[in-house]
Symmetry: C2
Subunit: 321 residues, 2 copies
């Protein structure tokens, strides 16, 4: 049996008619219920030129497939006119080990499943009345976040922060075509003062948001930090929050905002809850407009499993989601 | 850039004109010289039906590619008319992380690189005059071993042991067409008494060869044991040997014959040498016809790296080996 091989173009074609948010949401519930096997991430590091490759893999018990994802980041590629990120996803039949499909997504599905996780967090944690959305990071994920929040939030007023104004102006031009009104602002404190829904999607290693800036009723989704080094939120901010949610508390012990805040002595990981449990109702979602909520998304293999299955099923017409 | 995808048929086509033994030999030297990064093996286990998938990956420093291999064993597949083993190898450019090639080898290249390692061991450890070759295991690897030993040893007299006579008779018929004279023998002691070159290529969990059976001047290549459970040689046999070689002493600390003999208190891993060092002359190869030598092959990712590069280069015409 030969595996089906699909290109990025074919994958983008089916993504238009697919709800990755629901697939990812179901994945988080399965994960928090202990129905998912996710071994530690495999890693290869390169020095010259600098780069990294990561292998995330696993399966939902009793499911049709197991999934192995390879994703890489080579930050000097831009000099060669190549994208920094690339990758692919492989689906194998759980009953036989046979390779069923290869998704040559070039890293795109990792961006999509990350954006979908942001939407899931918003669904359970955003205040009812979002007055303005503040986006830190004017890159691919900053764009995808707005697209995936659009069906969930009626707010179309956006403030964007980036590493330079030119990047932010590109972002503004692109997102205004999609129905948002975007104000460029390179002062994080001003954004925090005017927005009660904040998303950080940067590779920052120093906090972008300070605890003192955050007012009552604000929700923050921090999705940039996926290593022990990266950090977007001041540790004291987590202590100030009423609800702190992690995508995988096991992973949050060693990377991301919860890890950083715990290491700094400002937060006890026992006070965090897992996203899958918030979805299933085992842990409390936002219950008032006054609460400060934080979602720390480090990226879990179950998201890759769910997005690849949904895309593969759509490509092969083997099921209706 | 789209990766090149090759099928098993295409791979088998180029294997005919390729020397995987040399490629694997060079890989072992690089490994023993510390020029190869090989992270721990990734693993997924399945209960029902029973199966396992392994991810072996790594790279030779400064090489063109890094390689990720996925191989699986699902032992109930035979009931479905499917092969038990399958897998693929992926080559990525080290400088950019771009996926260069996909080898849909269905596990075949794992068999080839394993057989090639057996040939490398024979090259440095076989006695000059092999009177008879004893093969334990009448399966795929038992066949490949003879094929890869053929250019190295002039001996064509073979004794074969298998789990049943029918399997051995199939083996005999097939290998006699290839120029060997094969005697079926289900008594291991008789084989050990008559052969001074022995290969074990089985998934045995109890020793097939006892120390007392092994005479002076015998070489044994044990290639079946690649887990902490499997075992083909009685622990005391390693104590009796003059030279004990492991493919990766790091791996031999936790699996294979050396591990088993050390755990039983019959052998100290410090008395073993690494195959790459034997090849490069840093450790002694066989130096007399009297010595007993043992090679314990557990399978190292550098073999996968080397075989996949050799095959990919041949398929794309990008170099002459």
């Amino acid at each position: 049996m030969k595996p089906a091989v699909f290109t990025l173009e074919q994958i983008e074609g089916v993504l238009k008619n697919l709800d990755p948010v629901q697939a990812v949401e179901e994945g988080f519930v399965a994960y928090s219920e202990g129905r998912v096997t996710v071994p530690p991430v495999g890693e290869l590091l390169f020095q010259s030129p600098p780069g990294d490759a990561h292998i995330k893999y696993g399966y939902i018990h009793g499911d049709e497939y197991y999934v192995i994802k390879i994703a890489s980041g080579f930050y000097h590629n831009i000099k060669l006119g190549l994208p920094s990120f690339s990758g692919l996803m492989l689906l194998f039949t759980q009953a036989t080990g046979q390779l069923a499909g290869i998704l040559l997504d070039e890293g795109h599905l990792t961006n999509i499943r990350t954006a979908a996780a942001g939407a899931v967090a918003a669904k359970y944690l955003a205040p009812k009345r979002v007055n303005r959305i503040g986006v830190f990071g004017a890159g691919v994920q900053g764009r995808l976040q707005l697209r995936y929040l659009k069906p969930l939030l009626s707010c179309r007023q956006v403030m964007v922060w980036g590493i330079n104004e030119a990047e932010c102006l590109h972002y503004k031009a692109e997102m205004e075509k999609e129905g948002f009104s975007v104000q460029v602002c390179l002062n994080g404190e001003d954004i925090a003062a005017q927005c009660n829904f904040l998303v950080t999607a940067t590779p920052a290693k120093q906090p972008l948001l300070k605890a003192a800036w955050i007012g009552k009723g604000t929700h923050i989704t921090a999705m940039g930090s996926d290593t022990p080094e990266k950090c977007e939120l001041e540790p004291a901010l987590l202590a100030k929050a009423d609800i702190v949610v992690g995508d995988s508390l096991q992973q949050c012990e060693s990377r991301g905002e919860i890890f950083k805040a715990a290491a700094a002595g400002h937060f006890n990981i026992k006070d965090a809850v897992e996203l899958g449990n918030v979805i299933s109702g085992k842990a409390a979602a936002r219950s008032s407009e006054e609460q400060i909520t934080v979602a720390d998304l480090t990226g879990v293999a179950v998201q890759d499993i769910q997005i690849s299955k949904a895309v593969f099923d759509a490509l092969t017409g083997s099921s209706q989601r």
